[in-house]
Amino acid sequence: MHPAPSVILFTTLSGLGFGLLAWLGIGLPSPTGWVAFVFFVIAYALAVGGLLASTFHLGHPERAIKAFTQWRSSWLSREAWAAVAALLFMGLYAIGAVFFGQTWSVLGWLGAALSLLTVFTTSMIYTQLKTIPRWHSPLTPAMFLSLSIGGGALLAGQITAALILLTLAAAILAATWVVGDQALSRSGTTLATATGLGERGTVRAFEPPHTGTNYLLREFVHVVGRRHSLKLRVIAMVLGFALPIALLVLAPFAHWLAAIAVLSHIAGVAASRWLFFAEAEHVVGLYYGKR
């Protein structure tokens, strides 16, 4: 799949933002006044910034409002609803914390649940696609959710929780790689089933339908990003998890080190998200004798 920067940015940042909102919603931490203001600004900047970035890959962003209509069948539509509901509930909760020094915990818990629901709906947009066997796995929502909660814990200053959850997220991410590498071959879809000619002999793509490139090849058969897969996996693990965890263990209460840990984590998750797209093989590539 083509790793569009807008979608990588969106899923990375908004995942983190909604993760932080979830922690704030359940009152861990439970700041008021200016401290609460700073926390919520960071969370909203990440969550909303990510959502805005995602509209850049639309052909007609001016019609985006129509995406709210098909929640009965479409995960993308459900995501739109969940995101708006989460931001609304957490917005009210934030007003209470910032301006009135109150923690309206029912609102907070509801907002936290909706925040995680938003991350889940995002992950289901990818998980539902049978055409991309690497994503069509329960590991995909597990990976999105664990990264969101783990990264959120890091931002929320929940050190013990962050240590446990980031380790868990790293393990799930590694599992998506190991399982994902076999997903296409295990899916049973091959050039033989794609053409229906498999029973007659070995099928080989002889001549493509066009001499140049096209939308399908650009969007679905992105091979450049896969070349440095192993290096990027190591970078994602070191920046996303090893360095932040080491910093948390060595100096748990230094603010500037925590900032480095957060930035490093974001860079690592973005690298892993690049791979999430670049390494995903769409079955349409088989028609071109590619993957």
Binding site: G59, Q70, S74, F206, G212, T213, V284
Partner: protein, 248 residues
């Protein structure tokens, strides 16, 4: 509405005969022509006369080599367009309701004024049947020439998809695959028509007729024994050259 209809009154679709397709790409060109001048946004191209031309097409012809365990390889030309699946994954993923499957005839269409160009339907299609228009930024797909098949301003013989009408080898057939008595259904039954990627669970309406088995060339001609065998060993200069070169 992106929920799929429980059942459609008819199942209009194509039957493509891989035995007779000669790979001339005439269907590709007539499709591009008709769908650039008629229904919806024209099929766009970028840099059409330059070094890197790219354009949206609704129908493309691949060619495959099939090598059986024994015997000669066979070349199969393979036209591919939207299969108007009964369980169309491209429809249900659409967030805006732009993608839909018609209850009356099962045609899968895109309402272009509702399309936000997110591309998710193309991601969900295993067949590569949908392409984003590079100019209009909306999703384009085969309409089964919905603006021809019901068009009473056209002579009756033209009321079929442009690709079917133009095919010079009769490799494309159009009809109601939901009616077991229709010509196309009978053709599919007789020739053992197949689904593409059945394991994807899309239940495609379009069917493909597999190539017929090739005639086997007899190993010996009846006159064979009377013919002089082809020389395996040269004589004279050729024999000397062969021997000398072999030694080097």
């Amino acid at each position: 509405m992106t929920q799929l209809p429980e059942k459609t009154d008819r199942k209009l679709g194509l039957v493509i005969d891989l035995d007779t397709c000669v790979g001339c790409h005439a269907c590709v060109i007539s499709c591009k022509g008709w769908n650039t001048e008629n229904y919806g946004a024209p099929l766009g191209d970028t840099d059409p006369y330059g070094a890197d031309p790219v354009g949206a097409f609704l129908n493309r012809v691949h060619s495959y080599e099939v090598q059986p365990e024994q015997g000669a390889a066979q070349l199969v030309h393979f036209p591919k367009s939207c299969l108007h699946c009964e369980d169309a994954p491209c429809v249900t993923v659409c967030p805006t309701g732009a993608s839909y499957k018609r209850t009356e005839d099962g045609i899968v269409l895109v309402n272009e004024s509702d399309c936000i160009g997110c591309g998710l339907c193309a991601w969900a299609c295993p067949y590569g049947a949908r392409e984003m228009d590079p100019v209009e930024k909306v999703m384009k797909k085969c309409t089964l020439c919905v603006d021809r098949i019901y068009n009473e301003n056209l002579p009756e013989e033209d009321r079929q998809p442009a690709c079917v009408r133009t095919c010079p080898s009769g490799a494309r057939h159009f009809g109601d695959l939901g009616d077991p008595e229709s010509d196309v259904s009978i053709l599919v039954a007789e020739r053992g028509g197949i689904d593409l990627m059945p394991e994807q669970g899309t239940k495609p309406v379009n069917k493909y007729l597999p190539p017929r088995p090739k005639d086997e060339a007899p190993e010996f001609d009846v006159l064979g024994p009377y013919l002089a065998p082809v020389a395996q060993e040269g004589t004279g200069f050729v024999a000397w050259l062969d021997k000398t070169l072999s030694k080097i």
